[in-house]
Assembly symmetry: C2
Homo-oligomer: 360 residues x 2
């Protein structure tokens, strides 16, 4: 570097998870009502009567988080609500309201924004939450959506990222890697379309993975089932950046180690087939793919029998006492360290650029 070059620090230097933590390091004022601020899926606020409010916020920018070339506005509206509800569920809370702010350039007529709000309304109705506020603005370029979701739970029912205990079972819901498989397929079709606009994409064989990318769901059903079965996880978060990254959060915040089995990670056969097509290991899809909006949770060993009766939940490993252990046992029996690179692993993909994920 020449001595004339600026000594200023580029945002990307702080890496994926560092930025918000760095920027807020001087935020000293602590309100006595705030049980949890930055650093979990959502903030938690004591509201008296043994109840707590839970709040999470997320920013979605065109060209960074979504590509309107293959993301219909209706789906985008739906997804922008879902990703926030997922954070509320991840605290073992029930969402009741969202605010949605949008900024749009004059490229978007009102009819386009109407489509966006159709998706927003659909998600609200399906999950029983009210659209309680928002702001609108013009923008110089592109479309931006900022969603804040609010929920509620008994203070004692809230589950944080910290709290995992040694020997706890590590569990995930649904299956992983599908949303990333869908992204790769859509991105390939976009490239084909750009070369020959007359071509008609046939996505029949990819319907499931494309659906997981375009229209994800939040696992409110799991929160209900946990309650119905008297299960309370010791730690929980949603899987938005890939299993590796989320395991790292739970391990680090709980000051525990992690050991999982590659062959136990639930992966849909369509995801497996896309992984083969793209010559990427299916485990990599699940570990680093992101955007699955499934739940990662840890539960005491004695929950084993009850967990077996909930088909949507898979046990993939256990928590260990050694906080430096962060292992995956591969299909051939060899042990490999889990790398928690989150989205950055796929740094060729535009959408992953410098995203940070604390409290989103």
């Amino acid at each position: 570097m020449s001595s004339n070059e600026s000594a200023l620090t580029d945002i990307s230097n702080l890496g994926e998870f560092g930025l918000i933590k760095y920027l807020t390091r001087n935020s000293k004022f602590k309100h006595s009502n705030v049980l949890k601020g930055i650093g979990d899926d959502a903030a938690v606020i004591k509201s008296g009567n043994g109840m707590a409010e839970v709040i999470s916020t997320d920013l979605l920018l065109e060209g960074i988080h979504f590509d309107l070339a293959y993301m219909p506005l209706r789906h985008l509206g739906y997804k922008s609500v879902i990703v926030n509800l997922s954070d509320i569920f991840a605290m073992n809370a029930i969402p009741y309201g969202v605010t949605v702010s949008i900024a749009a350039s004059n490229r978007f007529p009102i009819e386009a924004l109407d489509e966006l709000y159709e998706g927003i309304n659909l998600a609200c109705e399906k999950y029983g939450v009210e659209l309680i506020g928002g702001d609108t603005s013009s923008s110089r370029q592109g479309l931006l959506i900022s969603v804040t979701a609010m929920g509620r739970a008994k203070e004692d029912d809230i589950v944080y990222r910290k709290g995992a205990q040694k020997q706890d079972l590590i569990c995930v819901t649904g299956n992983l890697g599908a949303a990333y498989a869908g992204f790769l397929v859509l991105d390939r079709e976009k490239a084909v379309f750009q070369k020959s606009p007359e071509s008609q994409p046939d996505l029949t064989d990819y319907d499931y993975v494309v659906g997981r990318q375009l229209k994800p769901e939040a696992r409110g059903d799991i929160i209900q089932k946990l309650a119905a079965n008297n299960l309370k996880p010791t730690a929980m978060m949603d899987i938005s950046d890939g299993l590796a990254s989320e395991l790292n959060h739970i391990g680090r915040q709980s000051e525990m180690g992690v050991s999982i089995y590659a062959h136990k990670i639930p992966i849909d056969y369509q995801t497996v087939s896309v992984a083969e097509e793209f010559k990427i290991s299916q485990t990599m899809f699940a570990m680093n793919g992101g955007e699955d909006y499934e739940l990662l949770m840890t539960l005491p060993l004695q929950s084993f029998e009850t967990l077996k009766s909930i088909p949507e939940i898979s046990i993939i490993g256990h928590i260990t006492e050694d906080k430096n252990q962060f292992d995956i046992i591969l299909e051939n029996g060899s042990v490999a360290p889990i790398e928690a690179q989150g989205w950055q692993h796929f740094s060729n993909a535009e959408k992953m650029d410098q995203e940070t994920t604390d409290n989103q």
Copy 2:
């Protein structure tokens, strides 16, 4: 218009206040906890125990809402928090937390974002609120800030825009038009600087109005004084878009008329002097200037004596039964209709482009 032109509707066609109302017209799901959704300064949520949570959100975009040519990042951070706290106070509630999401292009090194957060932290400390969450992202262009503020009040203490009764006194806090006067001065200096960058602006004579534009405060002190004097307004909102626009909201939502006196509107002498310099009527500054973040409230006639003892509050008129009455009595005694054009009145000013303000 030629028949080939698109029949799509440009966002600006719906005008300043119409967009968010239009977009959310199909939001049918109502949650039983939500006492007020879209359409006031903040949403209000029942939290049991006779208490309510109050929440408001606001989007600030570079080139639309702020100009970094004269807005230092530290001030911008401060102001972005203040404008949201103002909405919480406007409900007669006390804020306790904010979430701040930012998107910044690589033009902003971390040191710049640090300055922004210095201002954010300063506002949080001064007003006793905690920075409880947020999201960060890169952006393709410019800087964007999305703030959500949360507060709390007894359910019975909440004051809405509706609720003004005939003969109620119409009151405002502080003085009006100063922030717009500051904006005009700064905008002029920017133009001078662009022509001759060596020129040094002398803003000594404009310190107060420039301060009101760059570093506004939210009137939490008034909320305390109202409580200390056992006063509860019948209607209230903050003055972010100009008195004319806000009177229109209160009148319309309360289904009442409005009559105010031009000479009773509190205006600082520096604002008067800028108005003279720019050859614009000082009343216009106060009525349509915006960004003052003072409070507009209505109180029963019997509060008159108590109000007189609070120097920060000025009585400027009264509520009338005729909901079509929307008058200002000018200095010469003539009666003129109040025009509620908000920011759009000054449509030459870039920052006012298509801003909508419900629930911000």
